[in-house]
């Protein structure tokens, strides 16, 4: 079972390398897997632009994501709990959300730059928008999925509103909140790289790195950078999944 998972990617790499070696595919369009490995090494040692190493690009990108994502979670979870709890609040706020939600986070870039300038604030804002709605909507549906009898049970144990909030709604919605946070971080990560294409002030960021690699015609580094983005996204998801299964053993 475990071995089967690696079969197809391995086969793909071998064929890919083969095609490149016999020069069916020109390497300025699609570098071979080996060239990508070398490009990855250059990203680490030489840096793109030179002196701007991969790990620093990565750190800046992670920093932006963490900032936007943390802000999104801090706003979306309490608001989601309130909206799930109060039918009235849900009725009042939902229309607004339904209008704003379909706007792609990237469409906010121009106005974000106008508001916050080019820099960490606008990048974090874009991440915030990408992560906020999935977390909010999943928190709401998490609260709505709690069986009303549990709220009544808490009431018969003399729970006040505060207790119901913290001891029933929040723990009951946790599984759903996790789903939202996983979707949110995924969208946030994807959005970030795109946001960095449009410009960063600090000269660091994975998206910025890839765009620079394009400017200097290094497809091997572009692809190596893309792989890094994919792997980091995967690692984040694995991390959240592990936290999730530890937190909700009761499910």
């Amino acid at each position: 079972m475990k071995k089967e998972r690696f079969l197809l990617p391995l086969l793909l790499i071998v064929v890919w390398q083969g095609l490149c070696t016999i020069q069916v595919v020109p390497s300025y369009k699609l570098p071979s897997p080996w060239e990508i490995v070398l490009g990855f090494k250059d990203l680490l040692i030489v840096g793109v632009p030179p002196g701007h190493f991969l790990h620093n690009h990565l750190l800046y990108s992670l920093y932006r994501v963490v900032l936007g994502y943390a802000a999104a979670s801090l706003w979306a979870i309490p608001l989601g709990l309130l909206m799930g709890w109060s039918a009235r609040l849900l009725r009042v706020i939902r229309p607004l959300i339904e209008v704003v939600r379909p706007i792609p986070p990237l469409a906010w870039i121009p106005i974000a730059i106008l508001w916050f300038g080019i820099g960490i604030k606008s990048a974090a804002f874009i991440i915030f928008l990408g992560a906020f709605f999935p977390i909010l909507l999943n928190t709401i549906s998490g609260v709505l999925s709690i069986h009303p009898i549990l709220i009544e049970a808490a009431r018969t144990l003399h729970a006040k509103e505060k207790d119901i909030f913290l001891k029933v709604l929040l723990p009951g919605a946790v599984p759903s909140i996790f789903v939202g946070m996983r979707i949110g971080v995924g969208i946030g990560w994807m959005t970030l790289v795109a946001a960095e294409f449009t410009g960063v002030k600090e000269g660091y960021g994975l998206g910025y790195m890839i765009m620079t690699a394009r400017d200097i015609q290094r497809p091997d580094e572009i692809l190596a950078g893309m792989l890094v983005i994919g792997v980091i996204g995967l690692l984040i998801d694995i991390g959240l999944r592990a936290t999730e299964s530890r937190t909700i053993r009761w499910k």
């Binding site: 009898i149 009544e152 144990l157 207790d163």
Partner: protein
Amino acid sequence: MGGDPGKDVHVLDRIQHRIENGRFVSIIGPSGCGKTTLLRIIAGLEKASEGEVLLDGNELIQGTEEVGLVFQEYALFPWRTTFQNIEMGLEIKGVDKEKRRSTAMEYIRTFDLNGFENRYPKELSGGMKQRVAIARTLIMNPRVVLMDEPFGSLDSQTRNAMQEFLLRIWQKRTDTIIFVTHNVDEAVFLSDEIVVLSKRPAKIIKILKVEYPRPRDRTSEECNHIRRDVLRILEEEMKRKAG
């Protein structure tokens, strides 16, 4: 009615009934007659359009510590372990951690839940879940314990065992129990008093006293006698409305 007039409970549509302190009273009636609604009103989960529920002559208000409710579907918090479910009420009340721990452990012992204190509800059998639910309610020491068909979803053997268990626990306590059921055998086996309700809108059609000493033999002449009475009354009630 005699006895200690400690507790007066007046209920529903022109129904006035007084339940004495420390009695085990079953409410039985056709399904859908409003038995559950009655309990929910007493528990303060629903408001009666008219009338009031009195305890010692004072109106009961929602969230009062005097009344506890055990649900048919257990209503355990799935994210809390046995221990955490049982201590929930004390936690809400603000009892300190040490005291909570010792009290909850005492209930875990009494309720035969040793070794399961760190299990989640999904890992427990139906009978265990209901024991946790009853412990969670009794730990608050309510004066009136409401039970809404608590053994309704258990198989008949577990149900019998739970009835005996409940009596064992209750006989060491002073709570008044109001027990809703549609199972005549159960009512006869458990209660001091059986209140038979009519179809909706529910009125009291009969109050039977069961004065045989416990433990009772389910198949004894006396039990059969009461059972026949209750069944006959219920049957007549069903016919009356149908015809």
